[in-house]
Amino acid sequence: MEISYNWLRELTDVSLPPRELAERLTMAGLAVDAVREAGEDFVLEFDLTSNRPDCLSHLGIAREAAALAGVGVRLPELTAKNVAGRAEEFTSVEIEDARLCPRYAARVVRGVKVAPSPEWLARRLQAIGQRPINNVADITNFVLHELGQPLHAFDLAKLTERRIVVRRARAGERIRTLDGAERELDTQMLVIADAARAVAVAGVMGGEETEISVATTDVLVESAYFDPQSVRRTSKALGLQTDASYRFERGVDYEGVRRAQDRSVALICEIAGGAATVDAIDVYPRRIEPPVVHLRPSRVEELTGLQVPAGESARILESLGFTPVAAGDDAEGKLFFSAPTWRTDVSIEEDLVEEVARLVGYEKIGESLPPSPVTGEYLAGDRRRRAARQVLTACGLSEAVNISFIDESNEGRFELLPGLQRVEGEGAFVKLSNPVVEGARLMRPTLLPGLLDSVRHNFNRGTRSVRLFETGRVFASSAEGDETASGEVETASDDIGKTAAGEGGGRPNEVEAFALVLTGEALEEGRAGGRELDFFDLKGALEAATDAMRVGELQFAPAAVRHLREGQSARILFGGAEVGALGRLDEDLAAAYKFRQPVYVAEVNLGALLAAGERPVRYAPLPRFPSVVRDVSLLAPRRAAFSEMRRAILSLGLEECRGVSLVDVYEGANVPEGKRSLTLRVEYRADDRTLRDEEVDSMHARVVAALEDKFGAQLRG
């Protein structure tokens, strides 16, 4: 909103220069974004908070400035020069819906001459970015910006039967508004009508047919108070926001209705000539009473730390227009104030405390830290989350953050984390009813589509090696028919996943997930042409992360997974329970994304891993005797799993057999179809002596025999 400094000075004696005034107002809560020089004037650009509609005018700002400077406010001339007749002789007003229109005043000026505005008036309007039209229209606009009350001028002669009916629009009723648009109204909208039809959308915009024109001689000036919510609804439904609707929907001063009308009528008489009626028809069936609010003077210090004597608080409030109200016998030291009729934002004691504090100045509030009766703590599991992130970045993965809603077409393409989906069919997932990006309606039940979009984004920009991880919540409906958004139930659980399990007032199941994606080459800084990443880079990164979180050992079971390619996919098990899946992206999905190189993805239930607790650190004394290693090279069927071989060796019951590791695996030339060559290294060690060669030989022979027996492996030379 723009305010002219010169105009402001007509309403108050504030003598602060414009920039200083702007600074003072800003620090009192009326933010001035900029001060602009405009000829001999200055324009202050305000960015006001929504609770202060009373400041949407020069009078409103003048009140604040005057209170800050300790000076008074001067109201403009309100008396019409030339009066004749009573309003009821020329028109009538009937309010059919007093809830939507608590007050309506009509006053008539007869014999006006519509013409361009005088220069001073045009200049005032131009200074604040308004375009002059004609004297009558400009005067109503001028008064809106001067006093904050929107007005409307009708050509009285064009009102059927010359009367006003304030009613709801009829079904299908139409009106051509001043902007030339034909608008269809609905029955919830309030209109100003004459005997026959709607002539204005109440509080929003007038109609073209009753508009002031050069032919107009008699003017009906409307000044009213409309229900703010009704105006907001109408304005929104019509997609039509005006200076008038902006003010009405925030609330105007219901006691300022007549003042603004008188002001405009006085100006019309002065500028456009004519004679005003002596009075107005003012339909105001139920007087609106401003709230009376109490203030315990000690509350100011309790809430702000400012020591303000009771008398000073009262003086500040009175300077802002609050009226002291006599306290009853049970007042207990409370002061009572009736709020100014323009201050629709004030209703409780804390509001008065803020008024006192902002006028004293927030900068006067002394800073200190609150004494600390409590200790800090991180979110449960956060140390472990951070450790995992650290390790993953060390492994070359960068952290991605994707938007939480994804395209609906992703539904059904991915296998979800076990246990996430609780409901089948329609309603299984959380969907937005009002997405802002076309198609992005699904609250993601998996992190993978987002990560794959990120991969595609990078591919499209010429980056072919992409390694990303993401943590975030995935969503699915919690339980069938559990859509009662009652709300006030609270669960005492730290686990968001659990919170949603049926006790969160219909909230969905929110599970913390963790996902990885890898594709392209293993890169080294400053070097190009690295090895192609494969399944084992993915698995290794995942294991490194879970190890950093001190999660116990994960198992990987080969399995068919919907979004993964057969033969390169596995379910991830932890403590016997399935916690996710990993592998190479399925060909169909890869084709849908137009990926022409292998992409590896993993997703696990991070909440479940963290919930399982931390693997404890247990010190084991360092071995006192050396270990002996023996390698065994085998030709084994391809389907014989390494993990099975390892388990077979370790379960032989050889106390001194300490571990099995992989030296090499080879398939291809010189290896028969269906077989592969494996070299394993077995470590032997005793706690109480150095093993003799013969001992190791005999143990190792059993190991080799077991591998041959169980897996049909042949020893290689």
Partner: protein, 373 residues
């Protein structure tokens, strides 16, 4: 001198002469005496590494021939004991001198050849130390995570507990409990995302305020970082999802001075000890009195620059004393406890700190972008 000894000496002399002849090929590896100083310039040797190593081996063979256990000179030494006592010392002395005359030269050549060989070998094994180090390309934490962790660290050290709440919320937590009236524009489907089941995506982390107050009773201090959602069409300065951190403190006797002190301490820890703050009255439904906090621009230190749009100040976020209706929603008596709350935009701060020209970059996950942090 007995003829016997004289004969031995003559034998020694002829061994030495033979040595001198054999040594001739090594003579060029000896030091030169220039102006009374021993000088050697190994670069003049002009041998390959392998040739030098062969020379060294030949030298070693010569040493063995001359003074080895089976050498003629050693055989002569064995005769020392057989010489008459009066001649023994002189003869011994003579043999020793003969031996030293050779071994000194051998030692000198050996040392010179050895250093030549080291030089050659070093040359051959020289590396280009400017080649890239063998450094696996590391990944990078998302800038939002980095900033969030810093913020968490600061507040945890100030006694706050990190809290979290659901992202899909009920009306009660998203609006009603926060004193946002029934017909407030923030509730409209223009501004807030709704699910088909009638829930909303939380439009501010303030939702966690009431959860936290229900979960922990006062005195309490919590911060709640997380995702929030508003129906903004994505553009250079908007995303329909962003990150906030909410702060809430409810204790006895808390007032605005504590809020100011807390936010000032926070920005000093985040942006440096010299950072100043400014507090302006403002309006939020869930606080009363409310205030907007600004901090002095970290780029121009308050002088005014493009980043702070010339004002010298950057908006930190909204804050205020918890509205009594919000305390009541969590069944806390506003006459017994007071509290303050604040909300900071992590993305916005991130955008300013790194001067991002397009905030959408934050969620595109372009590797070239992520690797800069």
């Amino acid at each position: 001198m007995s003829s016997e000894v004289a004969g031995y000496r003559a034998q020694a002399d002829s061994i030495r002469e033979a040595f001198e002849r054999k040594f001739e090929r090594f003579a060029r590896f000896l030091n030169k005496r220039i102006n009374g100083e021993n000088v050697v310039d190994v670069t003049e040797f002009n041998l390959s590494l392998e040739e030098a190593q062969a020379e060294l081996r030949a030298l070693s063979d010569l040493e063995t021939w001359y003074v080895g256990r089976k050498s003629q000179l050693s055989a002569l030494k064995k005769l020392i004991g057989k010489v008459s006592p009066e001649e023994r010392s002189g003869f011994g002395q003579y043999l020793l001198l003969t031996q030293i005359a050779g071994t000194d030269k051998i030692a000198e050549v050996e040392s010179n050849l050895q250093s030549y060989i080291w030089k050659k070998r070093s040359e051959r094994e020289r590396v280009d130390v400017t080649l890239p180090g063998r450094r696996p390309r590391r990944g990078h934490l998302h800038p939002i995570t980095q900033l969030r962790q810093r913020i968490e660290d600061i507040f945890v050290s100030m006694g706050y507990a990190v809290e979290d709440g659901p992202e899909v919320e009920t009306d009660f937590y998203n609006f009603t409990a926060l004193n946002i009236p029934e017909l407030h524009p923030a509730r409209s489907p223009q501004d807030t995302f709704y699910t088909t089941g009638g829930l909303s995506l939380r439009s501010q982390t303030s939702t966690v305020q009431v959860h936290a107050m229900q979960r922990r009773r006062p005195p309490l201090r919590v911060i709640a970082p997380g995702r929030v959602f508003r129906r903004d069409t994505p553009d250079a300065t908007h995303n329909p999802m962003f990150f906030q951190v909410e702060g809430l403190l409810v204790e006895r006797g808390v007032q605005m001075g504590h809020l100011k002190g807390t936010l000032s301490e926070f920005v000093r820890r985040l942006f440096g000890a010299g950072t100043r703050t400014r507090f302006r009255p403002s309006y939020f439904p869930f606080t009363e009195p409310s205030m907007e906090a600004d901090y002095s621009c970290f780029k121009c230190n308050g002088a005014g620059c493009r980043l702070c749009k010339g004002s010298g100040w950057i908006e930190l976020g909204g804050s205020g004393m918890v509205h009594p209706n919000v305390l009541r929603a969590a069944r806390i008596n506003p006459d017994e406890f007071s509290g303050f709350a604040f909300g900071l935009g992590i993305d916005r701060m991130c955008g300013l700190m790194y001067e991002l020209d397009d905030i959408r970059l934050l969620f595109e996950n372009d590797v070239r972008f992520l690797e800069q942090f």
